[in-house]
Symmetry: C2
Subunit: 337 residues, 2 copies
């Protein structure tokens, strides 16, 4: 096939940041996606209705001209939220995002102890109001085991709150793929970079700061498990880029920040991956339909045509070095309407 | 104890590089060590008697004034060497260093296939001449498994050539520690950084290019196994820093070169580690006596006194950022005589 049409592409896990960075990166996503689930880990985190509304407005200002782009907002999870509080902003958000404390960029105010009884009031309110819970599922254990160790927490949450939709964000392990099958109310997002790289790409040859992210890329057998469910567009998985821009100096320095920037190349890469595995017929479900069904959303019309034509990835977008900077990808964005 | 005297410290695995870098780093080692086994992975690699002699002279020129420092020279292993060739340079070298092809910095000309019959003539000549074989033991498999996968190659070499002393260089795994016990002719060097860090320190928080090395730091249980044999100065293990300087720009960039620079802080760090584990009485064996016995060497007299006094690690030595740059260590070099 030399052309692929994707309807209403959705990026169900996206970091847009704020201020100047927001201005640079938001239009890149708004160009090719109908909508994106926007992460709330700003400084300070997005924890009130006013903050949600104000952040949404800044995003819409930054993507001016892209009226067909919907920023689906999230609220930074806190166990102090009660039902009345959540009810009031129910229509302003699509989900709550839970971070273990200190686990990744700007997550210091996250959950320090996964004590179910402490979390119960908020999670029960969410169940009743039908608000999904998105989770960054890592412990603070050994870096290669953090996600696998978190599986017992996912299992407890899923069984204690059977009416709560729980999305395991940016899964990177075979263990997470296997857990999907065990609980009806567990779902997952998968990034494009975790379909492509393992720890070998990050630290096997030269160390590559622009491929360093959290959760870190794992073993070949983990990547194979992710590819398996993505390529057949398993109905419980959906695309979420976790595209996470940092200025170049924060990546190429003495201590490199976590995050891979893929927003402007994600669809081109996905097209290549699905094409190489003879699975292009499942790409629509992976980048859109599954998310529509899981979240019950109906995005604005947009059609993106990808064509088999070389695309030279820019060295930078503003101050941000994207994945595969300076390399040529086999698929390009042809047209958007 | 507030002071420790070490006699004839030896660093049995050291990268001194060449030219300007050699001028910067060689005096730092010559100041506190009686001798060091110098790696031959220059560009081009050190593969002839003339190259050994010329490199040794450049090192001695670089450490002028330190007449009590001996650079123990190595030859870059090649299966084309015959006994006559090795016999001629027997007195100019202490060991041969074998690199799998392309496994680390400047190792492109290493061994591509571990076919015992191809290696046999050279390894038998080395056995007969009593020349030890130092090996960078990694496969080209998944980065966390490369050393463990190499254990079958070590086992074959050790059993096929029982009279050849084989040194497993810079071991990083529990598997390598266990193999030490299985073959009489297997020995090992251990770096100071692998006694201190795991992959968590390299890529668990921010990614730390100055802690990135090959073999990469492994799991907590691997570090525990290394600490166990080092702290009791197991007679088959010895200190080898694998101190590997790169200019700052080659570490803090888009692709970070492998190597941790520890030469000027190694004794201070070792003193702290052995002190914290109540094992200072074994430090002399780990940093000198074991190596003297394994290699049958008798280094020039030098006594280094370490004192419990804070040492602020410089931000740089020339263009090289050391491990723990800008941090304060609890032990200092007191005096050298």
């Amino acid at each position: 096939m030399n052309g692929v049409i994707l309807s209403m592409p959705l990026d169900m896990h996206l970091h847009l940041r704020d201020h100047e960075m927001l201005e640079v990166v938001a239009p890149l996503t708004a160009h090719t996606f109908s909508g994106a689930l926007v992460m709330p880990n700003l400084v300070p985190p997005v924890k009130t209705r006013d903050a949600v509304i104000a952040y949404r407005k800044r995003i819409l200002d930054a993507v001016e001209g892209h009226n067909d782009f919907e920023p689906y907002m999230t609220l930074f999870f806190d166990a102090s939220y009660d039902k009345a509080f959540l009810q009031e902003l129910r229509d302003d958000i699509l989900a709550l995002k839970l971070y273990p404390a200190g686990i990744t960029t700007n997550s210091q105010g996250g959950v320090a102890h996964f004590d179910i009884e402490t979390l119960r009031p908020t999670l029960e309110a969410m169940s009743e109001l039908g608000i999904p819970l998105c989770v960054h599922g890592e412990t603070n254990g050994f870096v290669m085991e953090r996600e696998t160790e978190f599986m017992t927490i996912y299992a407890r949450l899923a069984s204690e709150f059977p009416n709560l939709k729980i999305i395991m964000e940016h899964i990177t392990t075979q263990a997470a793929v296997e857990l999907l099958e065990l609980y009806e109310n567990l779902y997952a997002t998968i990034t494009v970079h975790h379909l492509l790289i393992t720890l070998d790409d990050v630290a096997g040859g030269l160390m590559q700061p622009h491929l360093f992210c959290k959760p870190i890329a794992k073993r070949p057998q983990d990547r194979a498990a992710l590819l398996d469910v993505a390529l057949r567009a398993h109905p419980k998985v959906m695309f979420g880029s976790d595209s996470a821009p940092h200025p170049q100096h924060a990546k190429e320095s003495c201590g490199c920040a976590a995050g891979v920037f893929t927003a402007p190349i994600a669809l081109q890469l996905l097209c290549d991956i699905f094409d190489r595995h003879d699975a292009l017929e499942n790409l629509q479900a992976f980048v859109s339909t599954n998310a529509e069904n899981i979240y019950g959303i109906c995005p604005a019309f947009k059609e993106v045509t990808l064509i088999r034509q070389p695309f030279l990835v820019p060295e930078k977008y503003g101050s941000v070095v994207p994945m595969y900077a300076g390399q040529t990808l086999p698929w390009s964005i042809g047209s958007v309407q």
